[in-house]
Amino acid sequence: GSKNNTASKVDNPLAGKKIALVMQFNQGTFSAQYIDGVKKQAAKFGGEVTVFASENDLSKMASNLDAAINQKFDGILIDHGNTDALGAGVEKAKAAGIPVVAFDAALGIDGVTDLSQNDQKMAEQTLEQLAKDAGGKGNIVKVWVAGFAPMERRQESYAAFQQQYPDIKEITSFGDASNPQLDAQTKMEAILKQYPEKGSITAVWAAWDEFAKGAANAIKQAGRDEIKVYGIDMSDEDLTMIQDPTSPWIASAAVDPTTIGTVQVRYLYQALHGDQTDAAVQIDSVYVSRDALPQDKQVTTADLAQYVPGWGESDQGNTDYLKELEAAVAAAQ
């Protein structure tokens, strides 16, 4: 179609690339924004993205990776998954000369760039803030579930935090990934009933924004405004909640999902260009709290950068020739 025409008008070997994005799961706004970031950046380079969804099934993800290789995409982006499941496929891609850049998969394969958001740091950022706000003591609720690599990494920071602050007691912990938001809401309600006096719960730490949404809803609807919620990961949807002065969710540590997509595409294009890319790239997380946000207007993740330094304006992975490519594609349109 028209995209190809635009691309063919650009006299650049990097234009007109077909890119596969193989994702482990794509539920929720976070994933949607991440896809958006990938697509927009690829479009800026005159490329075209195909999303392979795996419905949280690693075997399907491995199959999708195989399919992307068979269909001779020019480059492959991986979102989540792990080496055990994807290693063989990635080796195959390498053998076929298809560059691969992974996000949050910790592949550790030679010649493949691993992007990661620093899960432990994000957990630390929110937990530190929680400890500070609570004055180093109190009762907290953890919303968390095992079985997912990022969650399990966040749990490591949490364990360290518990050692460091023995006066902060975990009164209970729950979490179920199958219907995260509503389930967290229902269970949080039960906990609130069990600890009905104000002040008996200091804060809630949610290891995933889907959990934070549910917990925040329950607390808000119960009118227990003394309880604060700290979450990790933040989509545009979450931002509106954090900004809402009546919401107990006051802070989150996150990497802009759009930025992840953008940066990941840039590294892929570096590889396509033939550069020796870094083995590991850390995308820095940003701590976003309600204090930092304006009270008079609603911000979105797109304009959050104005208020929170480091958000969404990462130039990570950009190079001169990529800027040229971007300019050329823009000119052709």
Binding site: A32, E189, I191, K193, D236, E237
Partner: protein
């Protein structure tokens, strides 16, 4: 003597069982048996109950509507977009998902009644289709206040306060969704028991051929049943949107299983041995009480499933052992 005792066990077993676990949780935790916790439990089951009522209606005409879960998802996002994307008046916000639910019901009925695909197969296929449709509609995004649109602009609207009240408000100290749920349970029960149309559905489910030979337009009756089932699921979706304040993707699919569990426990209530709306409600309450109570006991979430499954097996075992005991 022993038989009589068994009959009682059978008839009131599920109710007694609920009583016992409520007692147990109450003793174990002083906050369990409080007004606000009990109403919270009821509120937490209200959405699943609506879906389960839909399933019950379809089972009553001897069908099985597996598409209710995805109908919930669809109606949730339709509801949310009516406000967030289109800023429609509240009536439209509520009518639109109901119409959508009815249309899903019509599609099911068409496949089942006209094309004569067996119920479960047809609604199973529709489940897939609707699940794809609702994600296509929102392009995979959840719907929330002033959401960012893919074209970079911002959605104009937000979820109305009045609307959120449906899911979060209270009337005379009772959560509004609980009121809706109880009205629905009673209304559907009366409908099946005392109205001509209700009896026609029961007749159709009991023996379709006999009903047809009696001059009943069974196809029409079954069509209405599927529409009713779709509308019930849509109400569940509306409450869902009002409860969480946004339009979540795939919100309903995990609820299908939960609803089916409630319906199946309901088989055993009052010894019916078949779908009945009061039983369904009791089943939903039982599951809600268990989840709430077990959370308070700080039982890990994965044990919930074992308990749910165990309770289900127990209820079914009592019912069916008794049914077969009677037969022979």
């Amino acid at each position: 003597m022993k038989n009589k005792w068994m009959d009682y066990l059978y008839k009131y077993g599920a109710l007694v069982f609920i009583g016992v676990i409520v007692l147990f949780f109450s003793i174990y935790n002083e906050f369990f048996f409080t007004y606000s916790n009990l109403t919270d439990i009821l509120r937490s089951i209200s959405i699943v109950t609506f879906i389960a009522i839909g399933v019950t209606i379809s089972l009553t005409v001897d069908g099985f509507d597996m598409s209710v879960g995805s109908t919930v998802s669809l109606s949730t996002v339709v509801t949310a977009t009516m406000m967030v994307w289109y800023e429609m008046p509240l009536v439209v916000v509520i009518i639109a998902p109901l119409v959508v639910g009815a249309i899903v019901g019509l599609i099911n009925a068409f496949l089942i009644v006209k094309i004569r695909i067996p119920d479960m197969l047809a609604t199973f296929a529709v489940m897939y289709i609707i699940s794809g449709v609702h994600k296509t509609y929102t392009k995979g995004y959840a719907i929330y206040n002033h959401m960012q649109m893919t074209d970079g602009s911002k959605a104009p609207g937000e979820m109305y306060k009045d609307f959120l009240w449906i899911g979060q408000g209270e009337l005379l100290g009772i959560p509004f969704p609980v009121i809706l749920m109880i009205i629905a349970v009673i209304a559907v029960h009366l409908f099946f028991k005392y109205t001509r149309w209700g009896r026609q559905m029961v007749m159709t489910g009991g023996n379709e051929e006999a009903a047809r030979l009696s001059g009943l337009r069974v196809k029409r009756v079954r069509t209405y049943a599927y529409i009713a089932s779709g509308v019930m699921a849509a109400i569940g979706g509306i409450i869902f949107a009002a409860r969480v304040g946004s339009g979540q993707i795939d919100a309903g699919s995990p609820m299908l299983m939960e609803a089916v569990a409630a319906v199946f426990v309901g088989y055993s209530v009052l010894g019916a041995g078949r779908p009945n709306v009061i039983g369904t409600f009791v089943g939903a309450v039982l599951i809600g009480v268990l989840v709430n109570g077990l959370t308070m006991l700080h039982i890990e979430y994965y044990v919930n499933d074992i308990v749910k499954g165990g309770v289900l097996v127990l209820a079914l075992a009592v019912t069916f052992i008794n049914m077969h005991r009677k037969r022979t």
